[in-house]
C-alpha cells in the first residue's frame, strides 16, 4: 500500500495549488476568511470526490494497463513534473501531467490506448473555451436579472457575499468530483483500489493539501488576477465550477486553473477588457505541450530504471 503514497502526495499538491482557484479572490479581497475558505474547500472537495469522483476514474484507468509499480511511478512522475514546471512559472495542469504519465507507463508495457486521447485532448481545449463562454453568458444573464430584481445596495451586498461563498463551495465540490481521478485513478487501473476507495483517498489528500498548504498560493493568485468587483468574482468562480462539473459528467478530468483563466477572460469580454495577452497564451500552449510530454517521458524512464530494463539496455553487461 506504500505505492499509493505518491498519489496522496500528488493530491496534496493539487489541493494546495488549486484551492486558490476557488477561494483565492474571496480570501484576498477579504470577503471570506482564510480559515473558513479552507474548511469549506476541504468539506466540499471530499463531498465531490465521494459522490461523483468515480465518474472520471474510468478515463484514467482505461488509458493503459498499469501495474501497481507503474501506478506509483506515474503519480510520482506527475508530481515531479508539476513541481518542475511550477518552478519555471509555466502553467501546469495535474490532469495533463497524469494523462501523460499514464500514457508513458502504457508505452513501457505496450498497452497504451491512444484512441481515448482524442476525447481527452478535445476536453482540454474546450476547458478554457467553456470557461470563457460560461463566464460571459453568466455575467450577462445574472447581471440582467439582478439589475431588474435586486436594486437595494444592502441586498446586493448580501447576495454577493453569499454568492461568492456558495460558488466557492460548488467550485470545491466540482474540483473534488473532477480531479480525484487525477490523484488515485491509476490505482483503480492497477487493481490496488476500488473506485470508491480511490475517490475517498483522492478527496482526503486534496482536502489535506487545501487545509495545510494553500495559504501562500491563495493570496498570490487572488492578488495577481485582474482586480475583480464582487459580482465578477462570483461569476468567475461559478463559471469555473460549472465547467468542471460538466466535464465530470463527460468523465474527463480537466484543469481547474485553465477553467478559471477562461472564466476571467469571459467576464473581461463583458466589459470589453482583454485580460489575456499573447504572451500568456503562448505560455499556456507551452504548458499544454510540455506537461504531458515531460510527465510521460519521466514515467517511462522511471519504470525502465526500476525494472532494470533501461540499465540492461544501456549496459548490456548487466543483462
Amino acid at each position: 500500500m506504500w505505492k499509493i503514497s505518491s498519489g496522496v502526495f500528488l493530491g496534496w499538491t493539487l489541493g494546495a495549488n488549486d484551492s486558490a482557484n476557488i477561494f483565492g479572490t474571496g480570501v484576498s479581497t477579504g470577503t471570506v476568511k482564510y480559515r473558513t475558505a479552507i474548511l469549506l474547500t476541504a468539506v466540499f472537495v471530499l463531498a465531490g470526490s465521494i459522490l461523483e469522483g468515480g465518474k472520471c476514474m474510468k478515463t484514467i484507468s482505461g488509458l493503459s494497463l498499469i501495474l501497481p509499480m507503474d501506478a506509483f511511478c506515474s503519480t510520482l512522475a506527475a508530481a515531479i513534473t508539476m513541481a518542475i514546471l511550477t518552478c519555471f512559472a509555466l502553467p501546469a495542469s495535474t490532469s495533463q501531467a497524469i494523462i501523460g504519465a499514464v500514457i508513458g507507463a502504457g508505452m513501457v508495457s505496450g498497452s497504451a490506448d491512444f484512441s481515448q486521447l482524442y476525447k481527452i485532448i478535445s476536453c482540454w481545449i474546450f476547458t478554457p473555451i467553456s470557461g470563457i463562454v460560461l463566464g460571459y453568458l453568466l455575467h450577462r444573464l445574472l447581471g440582467y436579472i439582478l439589475d431588474r430584481t435586486v436594486k437595494s445596495i444592502t441586498y446586493r451586498n448580501l447576495l454577493y457575499s453569499t454568492g461568492i461563498i456558495m460558488a466557492g463551495c460548488y467550485g470545491a465540490y466540482s474540483l473534488g468530483s473532477n480531479n480525484a481521478a487525477n490523484v488515485t485513478g491509476v490505482y483503480v487501473g492497477s487493481g490496488m483500489l476500488s473506485a470508491d476507495m480511490a475517490a475517498l483517498i483522492g478527496g482526503i489528500s486534496i482536502a489535506a493539501g487545501a487545509l495545510t498548504y494553500s495559504k501562500k498560493v491563495m493570496i498570490t493568485i487572488g492578488k495577481g488576477i485582474v482586480p475583480l468587483d464582487p459580482f465578477s468574482a462570483f461569476v468567475v468562480v461559478l463559471a469555473e465550477a460549472v465547467t468542471l462539473h460538466i466535464f465530470t459528467q463527460i468523465g474527463v478530468p480537466v484543469s481547474s486553473s485553465q477553467a478559471v483563466v477562461g472564466s476571467v477572460v469571459g467576464v473581461g469580454f463583458v466589459g470589453s477588457l482583454t485580460t489575456v495577452s499573447a504572451k500568456m497564451l503562448a505560455k499556456i500552449s507551452l504548458g499544454w505541450l510540455l506537461t504531458p510530454v515531460c510527465a510521460g517521458l519521466l514515467t517511462y524512464l522511471m519504470i525502465r530504471c526500476i525494472t532494470g530494463s533501461l540499465v540492461r539496455g544501456l549496459f548490456p553487461v548487466f543483462g
Binding site: T31, V32, I153, R156, N157, L158, T162, I165, P230
Partner: protein, 209 residues
Amino acid sequence: MFLKKLFSYGRQEQKVVNRINDHIKLLCVTCETFKSGFEKNDRSLLQKVIDLEREGDFIRREIVSEIYEGAFLPYLRPNLCKFVEIVDRVFDLLEDTSYNCIDMEIPEELKGECTQVAFLNIRICEMLLITFNAMLNGDPLREKTLAIRIYEKKIDDIKLGLKKDLRKIRIHNFWDGKILSEFISGLTMISDIIEDAGDYLHIISVSMK
C-alpha cells in the same frame, strides 16, 4: 462567523445605512441652525452648531467602526468610509465658520448674500440626503447629482460677487480681515465638499453594479 453573517440578513449593513442617514440629517439640521444663528445674530444658536459637530463626530466613529466590524463587502468599505469622512469635513467647516461668526461682526453689506449662501447650503444638504437614499434603493442618481451641481454653481456665482465686495470692505486689522476671509471661504466651500460627496455616492452606486 460566516453563518452568523449569513443569518443576520444584512442587519449590520442596515444599521450602518441608518446611521449614515442620521449623519446626513444631522448635517441638514446643523446647516439650518447655522443659518438661523447667522441671520438672527444669535450666539447661542451658533454655539449649538459646535455641539452638533461633536455629535456628528460621534456618529461618524460609530459608522466607521461598524463598517470595519464586518458590515458590507471589503470592496465597498473604503468608499463608504470615505463618503462619511467627506460629510464629516462639512461639519468641521460649519464649526469653523460658526466660530468665525461668533468672533466678529459680519459687515452688513455682505450679510444678504451670506444668508443666501447659508440657505442654499441647507438645500444642497437636503439634496445629498435624497441622493443617498436614491443610491440605497438602486435608483438612478443622474438627476440628483445634477441638482447638487446646480446648487454648487449658484453658490459659486454668489461667491464670486462676495469676494469682489469683500475687497471694498475697510479692515482695521489683519486678524479681522483674516477671520472675515476665512468665514466667507468656509461658508462657500461647504457646497464644494457636498458636491464631492455626491460624486462619491455615484462611485459607490456604480461599483455595486
